[in-house]
Symmetry: C2
Subunit: 420 residues, 2 copies
């Protein structure tokens, strides 16, 4: 990959300047209408009816922009703006599925900013050497089907698909069935080949954390992603009558669970220090009755850290902790820390410089589709600030000027990459 | 009420000796088939389809025994064996709804032992002065509709009914709708007047605790019932991203909830000592997602103690504790400790004595329909041991010899009361 040349940089700056604030913000609100919550948030599970409606809307928008749209075995969508040559494309994009109580920007911003870049290139009458693909990756959140980032991980490693098809949501609906509904909802989409080569992937996303806001810097050049461990702990007790069973005779599964939660948090903090992120987010209690002592409690553990060694040590310590307390432990998901590509990072730095935008280099605490794309082609990410660092919440918000600046920096970066 | 006379005691002993072990045990298994769980337990929510089937079965059995069956506004069933006079009846019985993971005996044993007493009186050709009513009280467990003991509390205080009708189960089905299904399922049952006077009520039940087993005594004469407090605590936090939100910035609703749980348990133990029973049985976590910090947690508190003063102090302390932690608290149910009637207790003592059965006097840790009937007529309870003290659990069990002895003592007591 060459570094950008002066001529290319002028073209890239024109593309950046053609980003239309009104159009970008309107598209964010339009997409948020699919699965809108009364509290201003969005609830749009992957491949749900509302997600299928949202995809139809984006496909129509892509066609209106003169793009072609194709799909693949995991219902990822690829919106292509043709290039002059048939060279491997530059890719951008993100996901449009949300948390049950999610916001308007997580994922959606990256997809809509990608479409805005295409619109800006059209408006500026710019033709690029390489095609530009805006990807919409399926089930990134992992809250309807586990694990998350199914679409992007299956794209870079198609052999994963068979292991995903039987994943079922809370209602017992399998991914296989959900993919079939997608085919019925969008019957005319051509399928594209597996894991076609790409020149580069750039994902624009909200930070979902407080670092940019605290530093009062509008853009974040993301050098990598923390490693992740997901486990489920199962604690077993004995269901017995709440009124008659003497306290010393009880085996309350919740008592064991809260003890474990405390031990696991202590292990995580002492091991990972200030970089530790540990969360116990999903709980299930059986029989869940006011006057019966809980017999079974399961809870999830989400541990993240930038240091692979810390993650491996955590694996060892939590297994020992589970054994010590007589609890069962099941690993749900694991991913090593990721380092992004130096040359793509250089293009992002150049874009920020060309736009006179201060930028911070940081590591992502959230995992993203770019985590998998990095295995496939030169990849990096760009962040804009999240107000109060809040995400996965209806209150998720980013100032309009930051949303626009992020889209301009993306347009600049994609344009130079497309002209390599 | 007179104490039993010799002639009556001979008749009572004949009734007791006519209890048929095989018939009693077979009826317990027959009723357990309605809502049977694969693990040997029973799941029969109040007025569910399985409960309606079970009621049809018991009504048929009652008719076969020559009894009449009537119902009332809360779908309580009254199975009557006529007496020589039209005097107020002696009542026995219990409930047949179960916990989600309940056993075969909780409630059911009292109803089926009552029917066995009627069969024994028939076999022995005994006619009694007063009618004998076996009552089946609706929704005692309170796990489908809150509060529990709806049927017996509405029987003694019909003014409660309007406040119960809109209670809804987890699927949003109201008690009103469930009562209508009951009317459709058993259309031919005559309605009986509200709160008709009764001479006495005796409820036979498994102990659901370890005291009789630990003392190796087959019968328990229950002198009263612990007071009860049910609350729901609501803890509020802020949903945020599990990977990006630094630990010091988090407001995790579950962290608050487990802290509260610990404080409440400490308050309960230090206040009530060895008589304390405190349980946190029902939990709800929102959004309940692996990679989102919990924004809302609600959990239930069930506190029981025989001392009214301790219960009142607990009310004050938990409210202060909730305020201190910024949690909301909602009282769900409350009942003062109950003392049973001395003369009915004397009849139970006499029955145990006549059968040469050792008996222990104890207080019930569980609440029962007798808790309400005590407001209506002279009332007491009789317990048989629970193996390992376990109840509200599929493993709930009582030795056959104890089940039979309990039924004999019940037959003796009911017969003397019916001849007052």
């Amino acid at each position: 990959m060459r570094t950008g040349q002066p001529a290319h940089d002028d073209v890239a700056l024109r593309a950046a300047q053609s980003i239309d604030e009104t159009r970008l913000l309107a598209s964010i609100d339009a997409l948020a209408a699919f699965g809108a919550r009364s509290d201003g948030g969005v609830n749009r599970p992957a491949l749900s009816a509302t997600d299928l409606d949202a995809r139809r809307y984006l496909v129509e928008r892509a066609h209106a922009l003169g793009c072609t749209v194709s799909t693949d075995a995991c219902a990822n969508l690829f919106i292509r703006r043709p290039g002059i040559d048939a060279a491997p494309p530059v890719m951008t994009g993100s996901h449009i599925d949300t948390q049950p109580s999610g916001g308007k920007l997580d994922g959606c911003y990256g997809v809509l900013a990608g479409l805005e870049c295409i619109a800006a290139l059209n408006d500026a009458g710019i033709r690029t050497r390489r095609p530009l693909d805006v990807a919409i990756w399926t089930n990134e959140e992992g809250t309807r089907f586990a694990p998350g980032a199914m679409g992007s991980s299956a794209f870079v490693e198609p052999a994963r698909m068979p292991t995903y098809l039987d994943a079922a949501d809370a209602d017992g609906v399998t991914l296989r069935a959900a993919l079939e509904s997608h085919r019925r909802a969008l019957p005319d989409l051509p399928s594209r080949g597996d894991a076609l080569p790409a020149h580069a992937f750039v994902e624009l996303h909200i930070e979902q954390g407080p670092q940019l806001e605290n530093a009062d810097v509008p853009l974040g050049v993301v050098t990598g992603i923390q490693g992740v461990r997901w486990y489920e702990f199962h604690c077993e007790g004995v269901a017995a009558h709440a009124g008659t069973t003497p306290m010393p005779m009880r085996r309350d599964a919740m008592t064991l669970a809260v003890t474990l939660r405390a031990s696991l948090e202590e292990i995580a903090m002492s091991l990972g220090g200030e970089h530790t992120r540990v969360t116990f987010g999903r709980w299930s209690v059986t029989p869940n009755s006011i006057n019966t002592i809980p017999s079974d409690v399961t809870f999830s553990v989400d541990f993240r850290h930038p240091d692979a060694h810390v993650l491996d040590t955590f694996d060892t310590l939590v297994s020992a902790c589970a054994r010590r307390h007589g609890a069962r432990i099941a690993p749900l998901f694991t991913h090593a820390p990721v380092r992004f590509d130096a040359t793509v990072l250089a293009r992002l730095d150049a874009a920020c410089h060309a736009l006179d935008a201060p930028a911070l280099r940081l590591t992502s605490g959230a995992f993203h589709d770019a985590m998998y794309l990095a295995q496939h082609c030169p990849t990096a990410m760009l962040f804009v600030p999240s107000r109060n660092g809040i995400s996965h919440n209806p209150a998720e918000a980013t100032d309009a000027r930051h949303l626009v600046l992020g889209a301009r920096a993306l347009a600049h970066t994609l344009t130079t990459l497309c002209n390599d």
